[in-house]
């Protein structure tokens, strides 16, 4: 989920809203890391995310991968956030940094886009959906693109799981079986 910015493009973006907000979110993430608790089975097991980042990403994943029916597996059953944590280990450094920074933006800044003064993880689910919808159509391209990248990462975590394939009638890999036309 790259939010790669060169010196020049940072300058360009500074003219707009983007980096100011990103920086705010980043700073806020460093300051406000209290009040986030990891579930017992995650303690000491995460490789990249800290407790705050794990909590924020779990809240986002609950919205992004929300099911439309009872046959769809949950984000816990598919371990979406655990997948992203592992995937992030070998991400190029600047992408990993941008990903973590962006989580801070969503937690502390994005709620303002939907006129909420509370941090993302404390909002009710419907309001969280509003915040993400506002982010998805935000005028600032970096915020929009950042959310698209984050969504892609979460969908990767979700749809990689064979339990989701029957929803799509998708057969999965052909290795070890006859290829049917």
């Amino acid at each position: 989920m790259p939010l790669a910015m060169s010196r020049v493009s940072r300058r360009t973006v500074l003219r707009g809203l983007g980096v100011g907000l990103l920086a705010l979110g980043g700073v806020a993430t460093f300051i406000r890391t209290s009040g986030y608790d990891l579930p017992a089975h995650r303690r000491g097991k995460l490789r990249v995310l800290d407790a705050a980042q794990f909590t924020i990403l779990t809240a986002i994943a609950s919205c992004v991968c929300a099911a439309d029916g009872s046959d769809a597996p949950s984000i816990e059953e598919t371990d979406v956030v655990g997948f992203v944590d592992t995937f992030a280990v070998s991400m190029p450094g600047r992408m990993r940094r941008d990903l973590l920074l962006f989580l801070g933006v969503i937690e502390h800044v994005a709620p303002l886009f939907a006129k909420h003064a509370t941090r993302f993880t404390l909002l009710p689910k419907a309001s969280q959906d509003d915040v993400l919808s506002a982010l998805e159509v935000h005028d600032n391209g970096l915020l929009r693109g950042g959310f698209a990248g984050l969504k892609a990462l979460l969908f990767m975590g979700y749809y990689r799981d064979p339990k989701t394939w029957s929803l799509l009638n998708y057969d999965g890999p052909t290795i070890g079986r006859a290829v049917t036309p």
């Binding site: 060169s6 439309d68 190029p92 969504k151 990689r160 929803l167 998708y170 890999p173 290795i175």
Partner: protein, 508 residues
């Protein structure tokens, strides 16, 4: 195939050869093969790993990070365009979709007249094209292997009386699994990995995977060699590699080669290196059909619609339309929205036919170095290209309706759902622009163009830098303009055509 891995090197390594080739994709594989066949001592370094059909497992979440640059996450710096490029022995040919088209004659003539490219008119390049097509077993995709997604494009094209046709490919023994973009488990792709690199090795080339070129060594007038870093599977540097050589061939792709040239401070009097990046950016349109389409099965792309494509300079027909189908993760990331609504759309996965409108782009981007030294891309789509994109999206929608789609979904944000062909007239298509529709580019090119005028080209028509003797380019960077279609045959063939000049340089 005997290929070394840089991961096995340690400390400071010093090597000596006649020519170093950087990158082992379409261009690099041919350069390495031809130089080795001419008797030169060649070392080809590749920053990615060697992965073969035994390593491919048809799983998106594992193959994307294994086979693609930046673990599949490369984008333009404004995050508007996803840029897919290969990383590993065989480069982008490992996961490409095997379409084979020659450079259009009109483009070659344009380069000759406008960009002072000599020796590369259609008749002059014909022997190289023929040679490459023979080597890679290029043939027309059998009609029996056209899947329903591609047949829908054919039906739509014919129903509208538009121009189109069956495409050619470089596959032998294809099982129609549909997983081409994740590497072929059945080893059916006749690509750099399977065909050309083994031939290069057989001819004596020393191919080393997991070595990233960091700097071209030169004294501003001639090449002295290459400095690189050997890396392990976790990306840690395990050795420093210095290769002394009078010739360096840049084949690290239009992104990698320009970035390396910039990092090496190659003389660039007219500030051309990395500029003029074209990419064929494209977006998709999905049609929902009553019956299953199963676009994920069979050869992904076998038919094209060229009604809106002309190669005349300044033409307002600059859209190439073909099919585009992805596996679940790829599809989910392109569909707009999220949550329950998104999942409902995903349930139509098997009922979607997906077309892509790719631009024969005029916009010019740039490859530059990010603060961490890695390549970064800047690309602003011009107004004229945005209009072409809008035209292309509309044309895809028309084709899908003409083929019987019940509704058409344009994955814009917010999404656009169209119920009938008539409704297309009432749509304001201005949403067709970066950040509003998902854009992907798989054909970066043009960052170190060739030509005989140093004011408009980085290398001469023999592929050699205008000022630095012994520095050659043999990859997609060479194109002076977009070519408006799949570039691999052009790149393989240009490398084939230019190789004798490199051999010649070694002799003098």
């Amino acid at each position: 195939m005997s290929i070394r891995s840089g991961a096995d090197l340690k400390g400071q390594v010093r090597l000596l050869c006649d020519a170093v080739v950087v990158g082992t994709g379409a261009g690099g594989s041919i350069a390495a093969r031809e130089l080795a066949r001419a008797g030169a001592k060649v070392i080809a370094v590749e920053e990615g790993a060697l992965s073969t059909s035994a390593d491919f497992n048809q799983r998106e979440e594992q193959m994307l990070p294994l086979l693609f640059q930046d673990r599949g996450g490369r984008t333009t710096d404004d995050l508007a365009i996803r840029v897919l490029q290969g990383r590993g022995i065989g480069g982008s040919t490992v996961h490409n979709t095997n379409l084979c088209k020659r450079t259009p004659d009109a483009i070659l003539e344009l380069w000759h007249e406008r960009y002072r490219v000599t020796g590369m008119r259609p008749s002059e390049l014909a022997p190289a094209f023929e040679r490459i097509e023979r080597d890679l077993s290029v043939s027309e995709i059998p009609l029996a292997m056209r899947n329903r997604n591609n047949d829908i494009l054919r039906i739509g094209t014919e129903a509208l009386g538009w121009r189109g046709g069956q495409l050619k490919h470089n596959r032998v023994g294809c099982q129609g699994s549909g997983f081409c973009e994740l590497g072929c488990v059945y080893n059916a792709k006749q690509n750099a990995l399977k065909v050309v690199i083994p031939e290069a090795v057989l001819a004596g080339a020393d191919v080393i995977a997991d070595v990233r070129a960091v700097k071209i060594l030169h004294d501003s007038s001639r090449v002295l060699g290459l400095y690189g870093e050997a890396i392990d599977r976790e990306g840690r540097v395990v050795a420093e590699v210095t290769i002394d050589a009078p010739v360096v061939v840049l084949s690290a792709s239009a992104v990698g080669s320009a970035a390396l040239a910039r990092a090496s401070r190659i003389p660039d009097r007219y500030d051309l290196i990395g500029r003029r990046l074209r990419m064929h950016p494209g977006s998709v349109v999905a049609g929902r059909f009553k019956d299953e389409v199963c676009g994920d099965k069979g050869i992904p792309q076998s038919y094209e619609c060229t009604e809106h494509l002309s190669f005349e300079e300044g033409s307002d027909k600059r859209v190439w339309i073909t099919t585009a189908f992805a596996h679940p993760i790829g599809t989910a990331s392109v569909l707009p929205g999220f949550g329950a609504k998104h999942m409902s759309m995903m349930r139509s996965y098997r009922h979607f036919s997906v077309l892509t409108a790719m631009l024969h782009d005029e916009s010019m981007g740039e490859v530059y170095l990010a603060p961490d030294g890695r390549p970064a891309l800047r690309y602003q789509m011009s107004r004229s290209d945005c209009l072409q994109l809008q035209k292309g999206l509309r044309a895809c929608a028309e084709l899908l309706f003409a083929a019987g789609a019940e509704e058409v979904v344009i994955p814009a944000t917010p999404r656009v759902v169209v119920k009938s062909r008539r409704d297309l007239d009432s749509i304001d298509w201005s949403f067709g622009k970066p950040h509003s529709v998902p854009l992907t580019a798989v054909h970066p090119m043009g960052t170190m163009p060739l030509g005989d005028d140093p004011r408009s080209s980085v290398v001469n028509s023999r592929g050699e830098h205008h000022q630095v003797r012994g520095l050659f380019v043999a990859d997609g960077s060479l194109f002076p303009t977009s070519i408006g279609g799949p570039p691999q045959i052009s790149i393989y063939s240009f490398a084939q055509h230019l190789s004798p000049h490199i051999v010649e340089r070694l002799r003098h």
